[in-house]
């Protein structure tokens, strides 16, 4: 039974993807996608009820994975060579070809000459525990909602582009196959299998980013490819060193070998792979470039699922490097990314880039939690993982809907949108609030992370704390700036009329926002049933949930009373307060207003001039071109110091 559900979780999406590739009829495709979604959601809930187990499929699968791995590498090599042929020698194809060759040669050396037999067997291949089940829930539920949303989104997208021949079969092939690869990734215990699924997600990422096939998309796709291949190379080196030092490729055994000297090097390489997959500094440019892809891709791969694979890996191997210099280094690296991306997001005017920077920042925060490596910090990390996936996926979907209504992703064009598109704007505002304000889940995780870092008994904790709090304050600035832009209306007493309701667009986002709010209100029972067993795998849980408050060891967050206050403070006034038309006055423009209901004033020669208000972007002081030349080298230096610490210590 266990083998069956694993097989369905991993293989069924691959099959569904291949069938989708051949389906020309859009209704048939939609039915297949909805059917796959239902199967995956049911499956993930089944995993939750079943609990932890491990499983090893028959030995033929090892050989199959080995072969497929090389097929994949060969395809990557082909991509690199094709790019070289089309545009000549360039950093991107040099890196692609070089990294593929590096990976391929060392992997082949390892598997065929250094390993005792071909293929190398690891027991067990699949290890399902609470952390993987949480990831599976995120992948299946949020991923399915995004795929369903994608049905209408891609139809509108292609109509807007005026495409003659539809590319949707190929699009959904990669999207659904990706879900299967992610399931395989989170359940895999053998490093070889993990590496294979890791590379499949790289493939899907590359293919989906370049979907629109503009020169910009193709460039971004290849950049994502070679940066992720750095991670792949790191994986191969981690495999070689782990086998060399420990004689095993099982992740569970590596975690239990805590304390073995020279174990840190393979762990550092695995962290490198995670950092590239999660687009941490200085590798953030691939995620920013990936924003040219259609919004479902950004929502699925680049906020809730694929980039989570990196932080999932770090969280999983965190018990192995607890208390070492590597741990502090990882925390410092995560904190640095969190602070720098928060500051960089302030100067962005494009909504998707703001969301991308915020994603990278929050992933950096999760890595910081993994680096701090105390039970409270790991609890904070896992909680943040779940809540961030929900809220960020939601926000990307909302930006997609807004984009398809006003045909612009620029924040400046979203001014006063609450009166034109009240439903989606309210949902987006709720999504932003859930990412930022107390007492929602993301903020409770941040609170726990601050307390955990404060309690860390290390001389570096003040520096890590400083990075954390400055980053946290900077996130307030860019989110509220954007939120304010939505709310900025022309003086009027009129109530906005709701826009037309589209079930495929609005139901996924409504489900996501309801779950974000619901899980935050009920965070205490949610923590007890679902997150506590995940922490309890390798640490003694310190968080308890008396009275449905969130009790850390040293502090307590009273979640639901503050929700009650928030309801009283926000919801009740907005239902109760009435405004009469005679109470409307114009905004103050030194007395030169034209009329109350427009935003115009009389300027030179008594000419009616529209008032144009813009946001603060501070691009002179905080722009990318200014800051990146300091931030990128510093991040690289921290990474090098990390490795140096591991080699020397």
């Amino acid at each position: 039974m266990e083998g069956t559900i694993l097989a369905i979780a991993i293989i069924f999406p691959f099959l569904a993807g291949f069938i989708c590739l051949g389906l020309k009829n859009s209704k048939a495709r939609a039915t297949l996608i909805i059917f796959t979604s239902i199967v995956l959601i049911a499956l993930s809930i089944l995993f939750l009820r079943h609990g932890a187990f491990h499983y090893t499929p028959p030995a033929e699968w090892d050989m199959a994975i080995l072969v497929l791995d090389y097929v994949l590498l060969a395809y990557f090599l082909y991509i690199g060579i094709a790019d070289f042929i089309s545009i000549g020698i360039n950093i991107r194809n040099v890196f692609t070809i070089g990294l593929v060759l590096l990976q391929g040669i060392f992997l082949a050396l390892f598997e065929f000459s250094w390993a005792p037999h071909v293929p190398l067997e690891v027991e067990p291949i699949f290890f399902v525990d609470q952390l993987s089940i949480i990831m599976c829930l995120i992948i299946c539920i949020i991923g399915s909602l995004i795929c369903i949303y994608g049905i209408k989104y891609m139809a509108d997208h292609e109509k807007h582009l005026g495409l003659g021949k539809t590319k949707q079969p190929r699009f959904f092939f990669y999207m659904i196959m990706f879900l299967g690869a992610m399931n395989g990734l989170v359940f895999a215990n053998s490093l070889l299998w993990l590496c294979f699924f890791w590379e499949v997600t790289t493939l899907c990422c590359y293919a989906l980013i370049r979907h629109d096939e503009t020169p910009e998309a193709i460039g971004s796709g290849i950049r994502a490819l070679w940066m992720n291949l750095i991670g792949g190379a790191g994986f191969v080196f981690a495999i070689i060193y782990a086998f060399n030092r420990l004689g095993t490729l099982s992740v569970a055994e590596i975690i239990e070998a805590h304390g073995v000297p020279l174990l840190l090097l393979p762990l550092a390489f695995l962290c490198l792979a995670a950092f590239t997959k999660s687009a941490q500094m200085p590798f953030q440019s691939w995620l920013l470039g990936a924003m040219v892809a259609p919004t479902p891709v950004s929502a699925l791969l680049h906020s809730s699922t694929m980039v989570n694979a990196g932080v999932y890996l770090v969280l999983r191997i965190a018990p192995a490097f607890a208390g070492t210099a590597l741990s502090t280094g990882v925390a410092m690296f995560g904190g640095f990314t969190f602070m720098t991306t928060a500051i960089l997001a302030i100067s962005q005017t494009e909504a998707k880039r703001v969301l991308a920077y915020s994603t990278i920042g929050n992933l950096g925060l999760i890595i910081l939690c993994a680096g701090v490596n105390t039970p409270l910090a790991i609890t904070a990390g896992i909680t943040l993982l779940v809540f961030h996936a929900i809220s960020k996926g939601l926000l990307f979907l909302c930006v997609g809907i807004i984009d398809h209504n006003i045909w612009s992703k620029n924040i400046e064009d979203m001014q006063g949108l609450v009166s034109k598109l009240p439903l989606i704007t309210t949902i987006t505002i709720a999504g932003i609030i859930s990412m930022l304000l107390a007492p929602f889940g993301v903020l409770i995780s941040k609170w726990a992370a601050i307390e955990a870092t404060g309690a860390l008994a290390s001389y570096w904790s003040p520096v890590i704390l400083a990075l954390l709090v400055v980053g946290s304050a900077a996130t307030t600035v860019f989110w509220i700036k954007w939120l304010g832009r939505f709310l900025s209306q022309v003086p009027s007493a009129a109530r906005a009329k709701m826009e037309s309701f589209s079930s495929i667009y609005h139901i996924p986002v409504l489900l996501l926002i309801v779950s974000a709010i619901g899980l935050s209100i009920f965070i205490a029972p949610f923590y007890e049933r679902i997150i506590c067993p995940a922490v309890g795998g390798c640490y003694t849980p310190v968080v308890t949930a008396q009275n449905w408050f969130f009790w850390g060891a040293i502090g307590c967050f009273a979640a639901w009373p503050i929700f009650a206050v928030l309801a009283l403070a926000l919801v009740v006034p907005s239902l109760v307060i009435r405004m009469r038309p005679e109470q409307v006055r114009p905004a103050y423009m030194c007395g030169e207003n034209v009329e109350a209901e427009t935003a115009e004033f009389r300027s030179v020669g008594d000419e009616r001039t529209p008032l144009e208000t813009g946001g603060f972007y501070l691009s002179g002081a905080l722009g990318e071109h200014n800051l990146n030349r300091w931030f990128n080298p510093t991040a690289l230096i921290i990474l090098i110091i990390l490795f140096a610490l591991v080699v020397v210590a």
Binding site: V469, S472, A474, I480, V565, P573, R585, Y588, F616
Partner: protein, 287 residues
């Protein structure tokens, strides 16, 4: 805490605090006038101001403003109540952030040049002082082993001798929250009119009164956080808070308003730097 203590804490926070805040504002204006060689208004002037505001006609530009003014007031009162109920200090500071955000959103919700300026500058003020407050809470934790205000209160010895390096940072925070020179960049005090009234421009009448009330609660909250630095007993802490208040008044009268980049530089490199130094010291010398 017993039921009577909870009710007493609630009454203190909800009913008594605005009177204290109003009187402090009155003393502020009186002392400022005396420092400028004038006589100044009576100490109860802020109460006259707020009562007059509540008696004016309600006019507004949109409904969102009105809703968010109430939200701001209710959230700040909540923060003070949580403080009085001796809850987690870090949680109190984070909920204070929610209240401040409501004020910013209220001003950003109007398409008015001064309001937009004020709202964005208020965000920059938040960026400047929130890191300092959070790190001070962690410093207090390192010294006392507790984030709970109840446990901090029960400490036997005063915290200021170990946290004196971080104290100037708290003064900077107080300057920003009390909206005094040189960091009153979002809603210029004393009717400096280059941004009219910044954040408060589009508010009027009863809603301006609500915001003024919320400002009183906020001042009392910040002073209460400062008073935690000298805890055995209440009165030494209160004296410390009043002393800080007086120092802020003096600084207000001898400086002119600076720009946002100066404010960020002073708060981050000066204020935050001092608190980090204090934290490092606490790690090295025990605490």
């Amino acid at each position: 805490m017993s039921l009577w203590q909870i009710i007493l804490a609630g009454i203190l926070a909800i009913v008594v605090a605005p009177f204290i805040g109003g009187l402090l504002r009155g003393v502020d204006r009186k002392l400022t006038a005396r420092m400028q060689g004038r006589r100044g208004p009576p100490i109860q002037q802020p109460f006259y101001d707020v009562l007059k505001l509540f008696s004016k006609q309600t006019i507004t530009t949109n409904r969102t403003q009105l809703v968010l003014a109430y939200s701001y007031l209710l959230l700040i009162i909540t923060t003070l109540v949580l403080f009085a109920l001796r809850q987690d200090l870090l949680m109190v500071i984070l909920v204070l952030g929610v209240g401040s955000v409501c004020l910013v959103l209220g001003s950003l919700s109007v398409r008015s040049p001064y309001s937009q300026f004020g709202g964005h500058r208020e965000l920059l003020q938040l960026l400047a002082y929130e890191p300092i407050l959070i790190l001070v809470a962690v410093a207090i934790y390192l010294k006392t082993g507790a984030f709970f205000i109840g446990n901090i209160f029960d400490q036997g010895e005063p915290l200021l001798p170990s946290l004196w390096v971080a104290y100037p940072a708290l003064l900077i925070t107080l300057i920003i929250v009390m909206r005094k020179s040189p960091f009153d960049i979002s809603a210029s005090e004393h009717a400096h009119q280059e941004i009219v009234r910044g954040v408060f421009t589009e508010y009027s009448g009863p809603y301006l009164g609500i915001i003024e009330l919320a400002h009183w609660y906020e001042i009392v909250l910040l002073l209460s956080i400062i008073s935690l630095l000298w805890v055995p007993g209440i009165w030494p802490g209160v004296l410390l808070a009043l002393f800080s208040f007086f120092v802020v008044l003096i600084i207000d009268n001898i400086t002119a308003r600076l720009t946002w980049s100066w404010m960020l530089r002073v708060s981050w490199f000066g204020g935050l730097g001092l608190v980090i130094l204090n934290l490092v010291g606490l790690h090295f010398f025990g605490g």
